[in-house]
Subunit: 423 residues, 4 copies
């Protein structure tokens, strides 16, 4: 895991060409430690096989960039479009999401050949994008899309390997995050204010769901200085947290009972080990708890006499904080104890559940055409999560960046921070 | 269906006694047209049998009011508490919601005897409540709770009767709503403002989820003067609305495909008839469309180049409007065409889907104790609906009243109104 | 439960008229202790509501006897045919079996009126049948069909009442079966032989699945003198029988794990009580075990170093035994300890699982027309059971009588007897 | 697909050593055309991944032969036993059958290394078996077991490839079966007799379920000279066979409706193409219909005024017929038109559904110990099938050989032959 050169998707076209090379090759490097067999498996509907990610990100460029912009571009295999379209109905029908693991073909080697074919075909367009801001945006969008799938590739293969009783590691040679105590928990008070929230589409690349930028009134509140740790979360478990409906939302309790949840997803039954991309490892008390659902985060917060922050509270706090921390570039691929003073761990380590349903900002307009299906159609039943994780590239994140998951989902690198109202 | 004398739950204790008599007897009158057989059936998990409603509302008083406040009160049958607790985990375990239709006992006659037993036992408490505001609140809460179940009783039995190939009417003798044209559709512009939203708990009865009252910034927008009609909705169907994923949220399209939705719940396959509490009746073009899900309302709005209002927009518009219209007292038990000028149908006819996820207001505190389970634990995955319906009692509603349903639910009396942003 | 006069369905037409009155009125007497609410509920797909049995048996006569044979017979309500056809596809479509409990209408009173209407209309046909053997057969078939539903009515309502946490009795006033020790278990040796099996359709009424009569070679074997008792079965449980896959057929073990079976269907968790038509009662050690599946009977037999008898072995042993024992007429409605010397409990107490898949006898021809759907189309995946139960009418049974159930089914009055091969 | 030297498992130990080499290497040759990705996928619970077959057959030898018989044998990886035990509960717990496709590790290469390790370790045991008939039997059992999995490997990968919208071939270079007309259909009369059925365990290798040899009385009947063809089966479809419940067993009709069956498993929607191991190919009218369930075979037979043969009728007819025909050695891997006079296609082409439930022969004793789980515990809910298929090795079959499938299963190479009773 060599480091990834910084890339601002909103940067100049010269940098776009470099970014192309870096992002595309990183995807393949991330798949590098995996056998062809590893790249086929889908362990549940949320998970996609590694080779599906390799192919889908390539389909995105072939379909949305090459075919509309290169008159005589020969698609590598037209039949594959059906297989690797994810959810763009306006583009045509698609293979069922739940059946992605039933596809042994195309093989990994065939998909890598497709990637090379597309990489070669893109070269003239990368040049043309110097004078074509619309084309440049499309390519930037595709690269940011591919970066999202880089994180999914890692979280999905983690689930695949964990599902195997042999518990194989993604890469035994990954460096261990440093051990050591976490910064003590404290709450940082934040005065009432009216904060600007969201991104200005003219100020560098952003997704449509971050727009329009608008002002939000915030009440006085306090934010925890860091993420909740494994040790803190274990106290909730030890206090009977998973047996007491009082702490849970009704739908959350339904999940606890139906799924028989008793601890975070990747903890061993005795709560001493945790499955990581380095395989089963001793659970580090001081590291942030990860792979918990919104329901668990929300129940913990209630038990702790606190609540989750809203996404506006989070964004206002992160607005002037540089995007740095335990991110993909650091190469640990696992959360690590907080060591910085002040408000820390805003970026990296784990995505942070917020209390905010993921919905359109006032006046939101999705992208025109098929790409309008990218974000807007998911604005129901999900919660906003913020800040990226140890599996996110630094140049992919922003304070205004919104990702979103269903409240029961745990397979992503998801943790949380507490907030409090004034007494 | 004689009319129900007006009752403000926040009124004086003298009126509480009268309200008791009126609300309790109305529940029994609503069950009046039904045979014992009708009162047993549960056609899907969302539906409860009529006799379950008769019993559960009585359990509420026995458990939350009589047992804590009458030292020597003898419960009618302690074993029934397990059967008729709905979801109050802090009070004990309960019978599975999905299995309510498996219970032939207690019989309707036994449950009516229980109701009489509780009614008699409540008399001294109704007197004592004159000097005990906490007790008075509890009783008011129980009566409002029972009014909610009156509406559920009607919507649930409607589903039961509709599920029967014989299509029997709840009451053939119900008066038909008047026919005739609806007021033409127009949009009423509303300037940007900062509006007070929610209820002040010290100003008459309200539910905890309406508090605290707080100010919300609203952008300029326009609200439709009335609800969307059957004829308007049919144009969406005729335009292929149920075959075109473009109009739908992703989860909504999933529902359309899984449930094979092609029209509102109670329409006949040829879209000429509608199942009502008077049985199958010709569909009235000018009446509001009803029994549609949030997904359908949202898809229609997108198709129509509009959107759904937020709950704050709705409440700001309704704040000074008296609670009147096609409500339970009118006795039609079915939506009717809009006939009033200006902003109409805010109260009654159908509940209105809003674009707002049902969530806590800033600084929300649930009721103390077990009754804190009443509302707060549902603040996830549901949408706020507003305004009541033709099955709601007038004295049960307020502009700040929030009900809530999952986006896929259709068995309630649910319709919608359009909103628009300025161009 | 007054006793039922003897009725041989193959008797003369004069007796047919008496039989009509007796069978039809017995059905209504069996429903007598039940409230209308009791008669609506369906607790699982195998169970039908009481009022469905009252109606379906009446539909059988209206459809198969009255309409073809009485030119101007007015059906009571043609729409009900769709509701109460069970599985005769050649007659038309039918209401889904799983949804029988969703029907509140027609009410019990309406169905009883239908019964009276049909009873009256049948009078001329009962007379005409004196000279019309085909008509007489049809009526006899209908009466035997109704007798089958009498037993189902009792086993189905038992499941309904058991599913209710209140555990109400069908009839508290039923007499208790006598207590006391069971005859000691012994094995009666039976020499190799070639036995005639099945019924001769010209020798009194029989079902088509008992024909043709044919010879079967039987090897030497031994049959247990009586049914396996509760105490004997408990020893299997205490020996870990439900935790040891070794004793079970593969599909049986699948059931044990999926259904978490740990004991017979109606035993209390501590194995001290049993649910009966008189409600929860102490488990009687010496009485036959009942409400066990084929899988459980088969596993027990393997554990006991024995096997189940084949249906031919059973029939050869029962061929000359009079149909008497603990049958419906005795009025206990529950199995009782064996007290007779020799081969006992062949008829009554519980149906006996055999090792024989239910299949066509060599040369089998189903009844012509729609009634050919009565038996033949179930000749797959089921096992033959023999001998009737304490819920069967004596005049309904014969040594050649074959009933059949799926190997996982337990809600019927099902027990078993052991057999052994010579060492 | 080179031909496989003849191997009688009951032959002398010298031949055992040769058989070992031939059977084990054939398995690997059968997996030869497949990529690692192909070997991972499980498309439904009935299907196992190719690499699972490679591993499971090897586990069988490691667990049942090497560990008990080679004192210092080091298991290759003890943890793999949990993964590759199929259903031998007496040996320990096992990985869930439905989850076999979730295992990316061990990889194909690791499993092939395991196979080589076991092959090497077996050499001394193959020598020792010259003087140890019990050990020789165990090895023969393991080789016959592996031959069963060779057929499963092919039928499972066929399902995997068919499930892929790309429809890739297992091996495009396979020879096409010869085209041309089929022998005309005729019925060969067979007189009543008492036939010896089953195998004598002392006369060469057989499975326990073929014993004991016993006599069965057969009535006069007639057997079709060949298998039912695609053209004949299509006439049933064209006559509305899949829309008419009259022809079907009740459970079969349930399957037709639930699974929406309209044609054999691997036919294209327009009934012109068939998926084969050479990919999609024109359907050959004269070839035997294959990949039909028992329910379809039974319904077709009823429609055709015939029935399926019993397994005893089949075996009596096949008793003196040499095992030859369109078998694995021929290398077509697909059924071909009948060309021989007289009773043909008894062996090879497709397995033949019989009317006989798969059950124990009178006096059946399963193998002692864990291997008793091999066959006996499946003697419920399945039907006997006979004669092997174009995917079976000739030296694996016998007239007394019984395989068995559930009546709804279609993914195996299953067809059928008609039988008739005398008029």
């Amino acid at each position: 895991m060599a480091s990834v050169p910084a890339f601002r998707a909103g940067d100049s076209a010269g940098e776009l060409s470099g970014a192309w090379q870096q992002v595309r090759s990183l995807t393949e490097r991330l798949a590098g430690p995996l056998s062809p067999e590893d790249q086929v498996v889908q362990t549940m509907p949320d998970v996609s096989p590694t080779k599906w990610h390799l192919a889908h990100t390539t389909w995105f460029f072939e379909h949305f960039v090459l075919q509309p912009n290169l008159a005589d571009y020969p698609p590598f295999d037209e039949r594959w479009h059906y297989l690797f379209n994810s959810y763009y109905y306006s583009v045509g029908q698609m293979h069922a999401r739940n059946d992605r693991g039933l596809l042994s073909r195309p093989t990994v080697a065939q998909i890598l050949a497709w990637r090379a074919h597309v990489d070669a075909a893109m070269q003239p367009l990368l040049e043309r994008a110097e004078d074509d801001t619309e084309l440049a945006f499309l390519i930037r969008l595709g690269l940011n899309h591919e970066q999202q799938h880089q994180e999914l590739l890692l979280t999905d293969i983690k689930h695949v390997l964990w599902s195997n009783p042999l518990g194989p590691a993604y890469d035994e040679a990954l460096p261990a995050p440093p051990a050591g105590p976490a910064t003590p928990l404290s709450f940082i008070e934040r005065a009432a204010t009216e904060a600007p929230i969201g991104a200005d589409a003219n100020q560098g690349f952003c997704f449509d769901n971050e727009t329009p930028r608008h002002r939000v009134a915030l009440r006085a509140h306090a934010l925890a200085n860091r993420l909740v740790t494994n040790a803190e979360y274990r106290a909730f478990i030890d206090d009977g947290g998973y047996r007491e409906p009082h702490w849970w939302l009704a739908d959350g309790w339904g999940c606890v009972e139906a799924q028989r949840w008793q601890r975070p997803l990747y903890w061993s039954e005795d709560s001493t080990l945790e499955f990581t991309l380095r395989g089963w490892r001793p659970l580090v008390d001081e590291a942030p708890v990860s792979h918990v659902s919104f329901y668990e985060a929300d129940a913990y917060a209630r038990w702790a006499g606190a609540r989750l922050p809203t996404e506006a509270e989070w964004e206002a706090a992160a607005a002037d904080v540089p995007v740095s921390g335990n991110l993909l570039e650091r190469g640990w691929l696992h959360p690590a104890p907080a060591t910085q003073p002040g408000l820390s761990q805003l970026f990296g380590d784990t995505w942070e559940w917020t209390a905010s349903p993921y919905m359109a900002y006032p006046g939101f307009k999705p992208l025109a055409g098929s790409l309008g299906e990218y974000n807007g159609k998911f604005m129901c039943n999900q919660l906003s999560v913020r800040g990226g994780s140890c599996l996110s590239s630094a140049n992919h994140l922003r304070a205004s960046y919104r990702s979103f998951f269903y409240p029961h989902q745990r397979w992503q690198m998801l943790g949380f921070r507490l907030a409090k109202d004034p007494d």
